[in-house]
Amino acid sequence: MLDSGAFVRFENVGFSYGDGPEVLHDIDFTLEPGTFHFLTGTSGAGKSSLLRLMYLAERPSRGVIRLFGRDTASLSRMEAPVLRRRIGVVFQDFRLLQHLSAFDNVALPLRVASVGETEIRQHVGELLTWVGLADALDARPATLSGGEQQRLAIARAVVARPDLLVADEPTGNVDDHNAQRMMRLFQNAHNYGATVVVATHNAQLVKRYNYPQLHLDSGRLNILPVALPPVPHAGPAQMQLPANG
């Protein structure tokens, strides 16, 4: 079912895990292409569940989710992976494949999409440079610091130039410097056209970057508009390499 108007659209979505209680209730919102949102709420408010619905890891218990104009309930097993390739995900715990090198981790989304190795080498090389890991091509994730692993996870999420980029608490376990650095990466991805949703409970970060919020409170969603104009250094910018460190 094609609906060209809805980039990301949740219509009265409810969600529960198995036969458990409903953790998301009557979720209703639309994300326009090229927007940047924070997904906020306390721990247990349902942020991860909402993101899992968004990146097609779960199906709603009720309601309709439309992604890129498609009703996700009508997706076949062959179609769902094609849609997933348009979504970049930064998982809360990174979920990097420990047996693969940094290069191969980032190359993964391209390999599953059957991109040629020459193109993969070029793109992945550029991406790892972009996230400041050009010297760590062959490094295993376990040998990288927490901040480096997070940047590697971001590189993997954006390497296929997704239309939708979702990140689940990416700044949860890093210091302020690394959190800002990560935000710059998300902003760069936003600048090339990706719609970005970053889940966080870091109030300082939300305040500093001042993007509109999808706020979850006990499984119910409120959309909070932008309160203040974005601070100058956090606004849209050209794709640029972050400073190392």
Binding site: Y55, L56, A57, E58, R59, R77, M78, A80, P81, V82, R84, R85, V89, F91, R95, L97, H99, L100, D104, L108, P109, R111, V112, A113, R156, A160
Partner: protein, 304 residues
Amino acid sequence: MFRRHYDLPLGRDGSGRLVPWIVALMSYLATLAIAAALALGILAWRWTEGVAGAITVLLPPAIEDGAAVNVKAEDARVEQARKALGELPGIGAVEALDAADVARRLEPWLGAGAAPGDLPLPRLLVVRAQRGIKPDLAAMSRAMTEIAPGAVVDDHGVWRAELARLAARVTALAGFAVLLIALSGSAVVVFAVRSGLAVHRDTIEVLHLIGAHDDYITRQFRNHTMWLSVIGGMIGWALLIATGAFCYQAAESLDPALLPRMGLAPWQWVALGAVPAALSFLGMMAIASAAAKRTVRRALAKLV
């Protein structure tokens, strides 16, 4: 056929460690079963071919209790029978085995010292029918009974039928054994793949969520399982070569008087081993591939 590398570290966990050995054993046993059925089939064919169209006439010894065997009288009776048989319609040739011939054939049981006339032995005639004509066994039997009461005319039909039945039963048994082996092999592969799926559940979910088709993940399991099967097949072949050499030696050293020789040339022995080995190998590959594919697909179907 196989990818350069796997996104799933299937070779690093213990889930498939036993697969090559099990496949080796399964291939080995399946090959032995098929080879045994083939060998018996060849033997049965050779034996029945040898007696096809031949009729054996057995004349019991004509002696009274306690009397010595009169070899000349026996020879005369055999000659009389030979002539009588030659006059019957449909008979091509009649060969009479003399007393020395009979004694020689019985030598493995009676020893080399038994001279014609020492024992009351039956006399044999081998009758060849004309091509395409089935002789009248009843008429032959009547004619022989007149010359030698108690004579037996045997066209080997019963023996050939029993041999054919035995060959068919052994073939069926071999088929059943191969089926059991295939099921066991399949179960082992399914178990190994399920273990692999459990071990790599997280990695599989990541691949799934970044857009990997079911085929992409299935292919990795299938290729890995097939690779393990190839290794197993090689081990199985090594065992088979050793077994084949042993069987060849054993068959060549059989006493030809006690058992008919298979009479196979070395290359035929190789073929006898290679055909079942190839069948087993390809079969195990197909089973491993199908079992891995089906198991992974069923597991992936549970993911959203």
